[in-house]
């Protein structure tokens, strides 16, 4: 069966998508408090030099996320 969502690490550089939900409550708590909300558009800016971390933009604000954090944000297809 095809997945009905993707996550932040699936985004290509300069691609953006709307967040739908989170799949980890502890991370969701942290991320929502920082402004990652369901419905907001997350834009991939670049990947970190050594991998496993992502530079993203949400509403014009820049954040760095780890692989696990990024992968816990479910995005619309």
């Amino acid at each position: 069966m095809q997945r009905r969502y993707r996550t932040v690490p699936d985004l290509k550089v300069n691609e953006s998508a709307r967040a739908i939900a989170f799949d980890d409550s502890a991370l969701a708590c942290k991320l929502t408090s920082m402004g990652f909300l369901p419905g907001t558009r997350i834009e991939m800016i670049r990947k970190s030099p050594f991998g496993s971390a992502y530079y993203v933009k949400v509403d014009g604000v820049r954040f760095a996320l780890r692989e696990e954090e990024a992968a816990s944000i479910l995005l619309e297809m």
Binding site: A28, P49, A64
Partner: protein
């Protein structure tokens, strides 16, 4: 006065998100009148300053660590929740100022609305009004004030715009809230403001909150809910109270994490319409200067390369700039010590003053220039926003070794002094990552190791140039830093596999817009770190310096007097001049002292490393502070007056003399030279790896909350140093 004579001074809390510019506002409001507050039960230090109201009234302003919500993930952030859930806390505020970055208002209102529900007088300060004006962002402050029913003031921490108005409004608010309760300070009884809660609790939350209010006697419903969420780590709760809360939470099947997320989302739903109705911002442009700078500074290849180039420049600056002030401090203390010796009677208390206290003070102050310069540069990198990028770039690398991208800041600071470096690990949320950072930071070569390296490299490494460009001695010096870094990473890796705790770990960090540094912040931050060194490390270095003076001045029974007499006779027989005779006496007395006895007693343990008992004494005296090593050797090798000059970087003559003298030293049993290449390299490795710093151990104990980790660190580093030194000795001899 305001009718509250005899009561403690007003407490005002400054609260806000990270990057809200809160500390800049704090600096604007309090000027230089700052100190580090004592928060019982928490290791995090909170800065406090005195606030002068125009009426003459004073208040204490506390700069709380930045946090995104009252659901914290790091030690730093927990301070806010733990103070605000406990009205009996001596730091519980009478009023709060919430600092929000107006250019990101829709992201900064979450914590604000949580504070609203705590029913403590609250003022909203919209910071960065200067940036907002540049970006064309307009805010209707009166509408915002009406919507939240709090005073709202537009300010700029950068330019100081409206700071005075903020202070005036704050006093009005504080006085107003007092008047509503008949001039009495409001702590527990009654509601100072009859405000509807911003966030209405859900049915389940109401039940949990109500049960906690009744059982624990908590007044405010939202505070009771916070206690339900945080009971397991709130230090002010008694064990019985924690049990009660746990029972309530489990019987009501209250799911904490889920409720936190739901509450957060509900709050956003409630305040987003308000911020949208009050803030008008023009469309944002996709390619801002920050984006263009980051395209270079966080580039896959360029990013790390630029980072290493920046670090090289920083180190270059430390060595170039610090040598002059260090020389002044050295010679200043030397002159003072010589003056006192000449003016005071030749007695033990004169020696205590000059060799114990003054030597200790000088040993502390001489490192201040290097530490100050390094922290000045690090503060600048932090202020402009570069450090957050370093954290982002190296998170993966650091995690491989059990740490967090944020550990980079601690490790870089460790090149100056491990004490403030370890304290900067508080921003790391995950306990294991923070612990590993604390445990491995002392491996990084700090400024106290430099004098030891310089003398030993002078003996061990020939002054030749490789390929006519690179001095071999500088290369070895650089290699010592590399060794420290490798040791730190290797032990981080080992600890990660040994501890192996599964716990949530967070990176999620905001990468702020690049800005020109605010110099006042930079200087205050640097001063804070230097203070941490002087107070944290200095006190201990001083005490130990005095203790070691005692150990090397006095000996068992009358051994010192006998050694003294024997040396004088020997000097007469050898027909030594006064200076040499005095040196010989000093040497023999040290040998006969407690420290000397211990050095001889240690002999079997250190011989495999290629050391003689004199080096043993120096190892002992430098046990608490590494830099004492060279000074002790100078006495042991009968260098007399040279001792004072030996740590002096510029005085190459003194160092060269010590080196010459050390090269001639022979083992008393075999007659072979002590300072072979193997011994010198072995000592270098020993000093790079060993934990010879009491101050660091004291800080580790404080930051980890127990002696366990400090002791473990001491044992681990000592074993590593011993084995490393032994391996090098065997390899090269």
């Amino acid at each position: 006065m305001h009718g509250d004579e005899g009561s403690p001074p007003l407490k005002i809390a400054l609260i806000g998100n990270p990057n809200s510019g809160k500390s800049t506002v704090f600096n604007q409001m309090t000027g230089l009148r700052q100190r580090t507050g004592n928060f019982p039960g928490i290791t995090v230090e909170v800065k406090e300053g005195t606030l002068h109201f125009p009426s003459g009234q004073e208040a204490t302003l506390s700069d709380f660590p930045g946090t995104y919500s009252l659901y914290p993930t790091s030690t730093d952030e927990k301070v806010v929740a733990s103070v605000l859930t406990n009205p009996a806390d001596p730091n519980f505020p009478d009023a709060m100022v919430y600092v929000a970055d107006v250019t990101k208002l829709e992201k900064h209102l979450l914590l604000f609305t949580q504070l609203l529900d705590l029913n403590v007088p609250l003022l909203l300060a919209l910071n960065m009004s200067d940036s907002a004006a540049e970006l064309g962002i307009k805010v209707n402050t009166s509408k915002l004030s009406e919507a939240f029913n709090v005073p709202v003031i537009s300010i700029s921490g950068r330019t100081g715009h409206n700071t005075m108005r903020l202070i005036v409004e704050l006093e009005k608010m504080v006085d107003g809230s007092r008047n509503t309760v008949h001039g009495k300070r409001q702590t527990q009884a009654g509601d100072p403001v009859n405000r509807e809660p911003f966030y209405p609790l859900t049915e389940l939350e109401k039940q949990v909150s109500e049960a906690i209010r009744q059982n624990l006697g908590v007044e405010n419903p939202y505070r009771a809910l916070l206690i339900a969420h945080h009971a397991n780590w709130l230090h002010f709760l008694k064990p019985l109270e924690k049990e009660t809360v746990a029972t309530i939470v489990s019987t009501k099947s209250f799911q904490s994490l889920r409720a936190q997320v739901d509450e957060t989302l509900e709050r956003y739903d409630r305040f987003t319409p308000i911020s949208q109705a009050t803030v008008t911002s023009p469309p944002t442009f996709p390619n801002t200067p920050t984006d263009r700078i980051d395209a270079v500074l966080t580039h896959r290849l360029g990013g790390p390369l630029i980072f290493f180039a920046v670090m090289m420049l920083v180190f270059q600056a430390i060595f170039d700039w610090s040598s002059y002030p260090m020389d002044w401090i050295e010679s200043g203390f030397g002159t003072l010590s010589a003056f006192l010796t000449s003016q005071m009677p030749a007695a033990w208390y004169t020696e205590l003053l000059t060799d114990g206290i003054l030597a200790g003070l000088g040993g502390i102050l001489v490192f201040v220039p290097q530490i100050a310069i390094l922290f000045l540069l690090i503060s600048i990198l932090e202020e402009v926003g570069y450090m957050a990028r370093v954290v982002f770039m190296f998170d993966k690398t650091m995690r491989r070794f059990g740490m967090n991208g944020r550990s980079m800041v601690s490790l870089i600071s460790g090149t100056a002094c491990a004490v403030p470096a370890i304290m900067s690990s508080r921003t790391i949320g995950n306990w294991q990552e923070r612990l590993i950072t604390v445990m491995v930071t002392p491996f990084i070569s700090c400024s106290a190791r430099i004098p030891v390296y310089l003398v030993l490299i002078g003996i061990a490494v020939p002054a030749i140039k490789i390929g006519g460009i690179f001095s071999l001695q500088s290369l070895v010096f650089g290699a010592m830093y590399v060794l420290g870094v490798l040791a730190a990473f290797a032990s981080g890796w080992a600890m990660k596999h040994w501890l192996h705790r599964r716990e949530h770990s967070f990176l999620a960090i905001e990468l702020p817009v690049y800005r020109m540094p605010i110099w006042k912040n930079v200087l205050l931050n640097t001063w804070e770190k230097v203070q941490a060194f002087i107070v944290g490390a200095g006190k201990i270095i001083l005490v130990v310096s005095i203790a070691l003076w005692g150990l090397s001045r006095f000996g068992p029974g009358d051994s010192i007097e006998q050694a003294d007499k024997a040396a004088q006779t020997e000097a007469q027989q050898l027909k030594l001049d006064t200076l040499d005779a005095e040196g010989l006496v000093q040497q023999r007395r040290l040998e006969a002292s407690w420290a000397g006895q211990a050095g001889k007693w240690m002999m079997p343990a250190i011989r495999p490393l290629g050391y003689d008992w004199k080096i043993g004494i120096a190892l002992l005296t430098s046990f608490a502070a590494r830099e004492v090593f060279t000074g002790t050797l100078a006495i042991l090798y009968n260098m007399g007056g040279l001792e004072a000059d030996i740590n002096d970087r510029s005085d190459n003559a003194a160092k060269a003399t010590l080196r010459e003298r050390m090269k001639k030293e022979k083992f008393s049993d075999t007659g072979k030279p002590v300072y072979t290449l193997a011994t010198a390299l072995s000592l270098l490795v020993f000093y790079a790896l060993s934990m010879q710093c009491f101050s660091t151990l004291a800080v580790v104990r404080r930051e980890t909350g127990s002696w366990k980790w400090a002791v473990l660190q001491f044992v681990f580093m000592s074993v590593a140093a011993y084995l490393g030194a032994w391996a090098v000795y065997v390899l090269f001899s």
